[in-house]
Amino acid sequence: MYRRPRYLPAGDEGLLVEFGNEIHPDTHNRVYGMAQAVEEAHIQGIEEIIPSYCSLLVVYDPLLISFGDLTDQLKGIEKNLSHLKIPEHRRVEIPTLYGGEFGPDLDFVATHHGLTPEEVIRIHSSQDYLVYMLGFTPGFAYLGGNLEKIATPRLKTPRVVVPAGSVGIAESQTGIYPIESPGGWQIIGRTPLKLFNPIQPPHFLLAAGDMVRFAPIHEKQYADLQSH
């Protein structure tokens, strides 16, 4: 983490506040804390704030606020952020049906590491994952966590269609497909929850700063949750 954040222009409608240059929960806590504080400050001219691993992009309307004024106001907010305060993380449970038809690569991941499928499920579902940012497709969460024990390379030939809700592993990353799309991740399960609902709010299940945990469920629970 930098001692002081950098304030960089990102075009004439963007200002990037960069807090560091590594993937670390402490750095992200600063990003997330700043995002909350900026949102609460309701600065006229700010249109969007987009947190990522170690920076916050502030999108603004240059007809309403200048780069200089915006930088000054953001610096003022940043100065008053407590370095020690760890923001409250929302906890979100992702009920997941592992293996079988919905997790066709679970057995491969297990064999790849000399584990049983149950052990893979236990490792995957017994830790918290911090949502660092959303990107790639609407609702796709970049999750932190420690998955070295079940880290698995991507499929040699990506699937043409991966259904929405699929839970996958790529190297030491895990993630959930919010929309049906092509994909090369090892699919180990599926959640009946909607990560992206364009029609009805809340449109997104997850947001940056959430703490996610996968909870193994059975087929009957899956069907019950899906019908809700």
């Binding site: 222009p9 075009g11 963007g14 249109e47 969007e48 992009l57 780069f67 609407p138 947001a207």
Partner: protein
């Protein structure tokens, strides 16, 4: 037929305005874009050439941000299902009504059953067709813009195709004929000078790399679409790493992956990315850039943020002055006699 069915059919027909006879190369419904969801991984989408979208709407006295057709390249053919007041702006794709030339950059009235077609690229690559009353499709997360990758917005989240019927809202009464003043009508050509603000990751590039970027001419490749333009030209040298820890992208971010060729991120871009961004195109120049086509040449020149904001302010002033309301015809729009 039951009377109730009959009356509901009549109401239904009253709001249908256009039927697609051929979808053309790529036609979508776009407005000013979907704002506020980039932090959830959802790009703004919206018109690639926002200037032309805004002007098309103003010519038919819609609000500036109404949904229009964004017509890319040629082939679109549609038929008016009723008398309509329309305007076409942006790239000149040789628009015709029933085979006769259709004037761009002004209010035009077309008769029921007229066929409108886009028959050849003359200048630019994207036309905007507005209809008085605005094209009505459901708003998804605050916008009617089509975002193909997620299949949302516009007409069923996809490009238009044969048989699609578009509805319009109620048009303002007493429409005036309007025209964009000649001096404000753009000529796009094939050479682009795009002003940029360096960064935010220009420190990932060597001095030589920056020099290459700002002094070379790049060619827009055919691998260019609403997500962004892939450029070909002299390789831009990185200092060391060609990867950053992924961060948010902007409309107009110019990222340079390890191979050294720049990529300009546009309306349908991914909202985060892992390549360093050497510079970001300024908003005013981005609006025009929606008209750049494969094979066109582009050069970048750096300016600072304060200069960019002055350019933007003067652009907004020009946008206010560019429309003429024709004095002689400052009355209800007259319809062309239908060619028969």
């Amino acid at each position: 037929m039951l009377p109730s069915t009959k009356s509901s059919t009549r109401i239904y027909k009253a709001i249908e305005a256009l039927e697609i006879l051929h979808g053309g190369a790529f036609t979508t419904i776009q407005d000013l874009g979907r704002r506020g969801y980039q932090r959830f991984g959802t790009p703004t989408a919206g018109a690639m050439d926002l200037t032309s979208l805004r002007l098309a709407n103003r010519l038919v006295q819609n609000d500036e941000g109404q949904a229009c057709l964004e017509i890319t390249f040629v082939g679109l053919r549609l038929v008016a299902l009723r008398d309509l007041v329309i305007a076409i702006t942006g790239g000149d794709l040789t628009p015709k009504v029933d085979g006769s030339p259709l004037s761009m950059w002004q209010t035009v009235s077309v008769r029921e059953n007229s066929q409108i077609s886009f028959t050849g690229v003359r200048d630019g690559i994207r036309s905007y067709l507005s209809v008085a009353g605005g094209i009505q499709v459901p708003e998804i997360m605050g916008s009617k813009s089509t975002y193909i990758r997620a299949g949302i917005g516009g007409f069923e989240g996809r490009p238009l195709k044969k048989g699609d019927r578009l509805r319009i809202g109620r048009q303002r009464s007493g429409l005036s004929l309007c025209r964009i003043k000649e001096v404000f009508i753009p000529r796009y050509g094939g050479k682009w000078k795009t002003r940029v603000i360096m960064g935010p990751q220009d420190d990932y590039f060597s001095k030589q790399g920056i020099e290459t970027f700002t002094s070379s001419e790049y060619t827009i490749t055919p691998q260019s679409d609403r997500m962004g333009y892939r450029l070909q030209g002299p390789v831009i040298e990185h200092r060391e790493d060609a990867d950053i820890i992924s961060d948010a992208t902007c409309l107009g971010s110019i990222q340079v992956p390890g191979h050294g060729f720049p990529f300009i991120l546009l309306a349908d871009r991914q909202t985060t990315g892992g390549y360093p961004k050497i510079a970001t195109a300024i908003s005013v120049d981005l609006y025009n850039l929606g008209q750049a086509k494969p094979g066109d040449k582009i050069q970048f020149s750096p300016i600072n943020v304060v200069e960019a904001h002055e350019i933007r302010k003067s652009y907004e002033r020009r946008m206010k002055q560019c429309i003429d309301i024709l004095p002689r015809m400052n009355q209800k729009v007259q319809f062309h006699p239908h060619n028969t």
